[in-house]
Symmetry: C2
């Protein structure tokens, strides 16, 4: 059972800029569409736990729903999702521990935890086992931060660090318990 | 002429923890005292611009003053420094641009900019040319942040990324102008 984060951020730790834009993610030319390990990461994911904002950002994009695995969306407010996504999406609320228990009871164990608030909440309960951070070479100076406050420091172990497109550092850490 | 930062921080971008401690910097065993490029970095430094807090942190440590080059300490409040350091230290105040002009007029051009507030202030004026960030594998969840708000994003170019002691990622960026 593993809860994993796979996310891109700026050097100063923002996952979206002050205008809520993600354009800066494309600031490094990527002619061969290097996915920086994303597809390989997804082969080891059973289900996704995603914050409401991340869901709405994806739903607003003019693209096909990009996930083949079930997606659990955390929201206190949402009561329904796009009708064509009813089969793939389930809305959930509650504490991270209760949510995990429910999702695991459905047989999903390799979980991709996505969205700033959701990641912060899971980290605050020390529920993240693996952290892959892809650092874009810029300072945004504001926006949505990847990390939030913690009661106690959390130590991690570096598993791998790679450079993509000569410009993007990606480091994978696992929680040291 | 170059203004350079060389600093260690946590994965979540803190340079000291909530207790103002730096003990976590020693959380990775370093039996052979690998300096992670510090001595080599310092061979290309003419002078140091340092914030008051960083000065006070070093002054309080029971160690010899660790710098061979002149150190300019930025403070609106301080009127004197430890008497034995009078020859090596000069107190300064004013805007980053004025400070740089004064220091350069004295013939110093390769400057090491140190201390969280000082780095943030220089970055806010887009006065940092090189950024070497050594990332310790932990989340502190609070403390003094390395980065602060910016009016506009600042793009950098990755020059080098290395792993030290199998655990510590160090990335060097230069400002892309």
């Amino acid at each position: 059972m593993k809860n994993k984060v796979f996310i891109a951020c700026s050097i100063d730790g923002y996952i979206s800029d002050v205008k809520n834009s993600l354009e800066w993610l494309n600031s490094i030319p990527n002619p061969e569409q290097n996915d920086m390990g994303y597809a390989s990461f997804m082969t080891n994911v059973d289900a996704i736990i995603m914050g409401r904002k991340t869901y709405e950002t994806i739903a607003k994009m003019d693209i096909e729903w990009p996930y083949a695995v079930p997606v659990f969306i955390l929201s206190r407010r949402l009561t329904s999702v796009l009708p064509n996504l009813n089969a793939q999406i389930e809305l959930m609320k509650g504490s991270p521990n209760n949510i995990l228990q429910t999702i695991r009871s459905k047989g999903y164990n390799q979980l991709y935890i996505d969205g700033g608030n959701t990641i912060q909440q899971f980290l605050s309960y020390d529920l993240i086992d693996e952290l892959t951070i892809t650092t874009m070479p810029l300072l945004l100076g504001g926006g949505s931060p990847l990390f939030g406050p913690l009661i106690n420091p959390l130590h991690f172990e570096l598993v791998k660090s790679e450079v993509f497109l000569s410009q993007i550092v990606q480091s994978t850490y696992t929680r040291k318990r």
